[in-house]
Symmetry: C2
Subunit: 151 residues, 2 copies
């Protein structure tokens, strides 16, 4: 199947929305992501359900942030978009009859569980506010290099 890019896309959008006054339409967001307004609505529906964004219809409508960036982690966003499968590998038989296969599955799945726990842990450690800060730092840093008075 394809690579699931919902987490990355939503993080991208949320950070833009955070630095944007007023609602953003699905049309504009879609252009940002190089996709289609329907895909945007579909994916953002998960964020709305989680209470992270709001949507308004009609003139002047669109999407707005409805949360504290410091209180939502990358993991929260991952879950809000459906908490999709993380791994592209794995056995087909979760509960095989064959004892050999059981041993194999336990070994591989054990390693995968550890890796998933680490990934989930890291995603949970980082808030959207932290990401926004990293962006600001990078930009400020760039500006400082040319205009030290920013300090």
């Amino acid at each position: 199947m394809r690579n699931d890019s919902r987490l990355s896309r939503m993080l991208h959008v949320l950070l833009h929305m955070a630095r944007h006054d007023g609602p953003m339409t699905s049309e504009v967001v879609a252009r940002m992501l190089g996709t289609n307004p329907v895909v945007v609505r579909r994916t953002m529906a998960g964020l709305r359900k989680a209470g992270y964004v709001r949507s308004e219809k009609g003139h002047g409508g669109g999407w707005t942030i409805a949360m504290d960036l410091a209180k939502v982690s990358l993991l929260d966003v991952h879950r809000a978009v459906g908490g999709p499968r993380i791994f592209a590998i794995g056995s087909e038989h979760p509960n095989p009859d064959c004892a050999v296969e059981k041993v194999v599955n336990e070994a591989v799945e054990g390693a995968m569980r550890e890796a998933e726990a680490l990934l989930i842990g890291r995603l949970g450690e980082v808030s959207l506010a932290e990401l926004a800060k990293r962006f600001d730092m990078r930009c400020t840093g760039a500006i400082e290099a040319r205009a030290p008075e920013q300090t």
Copy 2:
């Protein structure tokens, strides 16, 4: 896309082959895996290329192990079957123009890199011999419960 089960399947097969005298045909292996001889040949071709198995044509032909189980790790098998993508998530743009997207990608990919390193490390720590031993221990344990003379 589908879940990649080549690693699990090949480990499963290799352990069976290790406890089997003489060559196993793709037909038999396919039946074990619930698949098709062509799929078996296709996947095992990677193992043959790596020197882990041999294949013989004609009467009495089939697949045989051609390695020391203690010297091949789960990671080696993973690589032999093509070292496929491990994650089902990720950004679509490896090198985005948008600075916001860059920050997002670095955060997500950083976490993924750590998780992948852990997974790869764990797979590299376990040899096929270790897996075979786990199987024997499990079986011996089960037999001992009924027939202690096995000890």
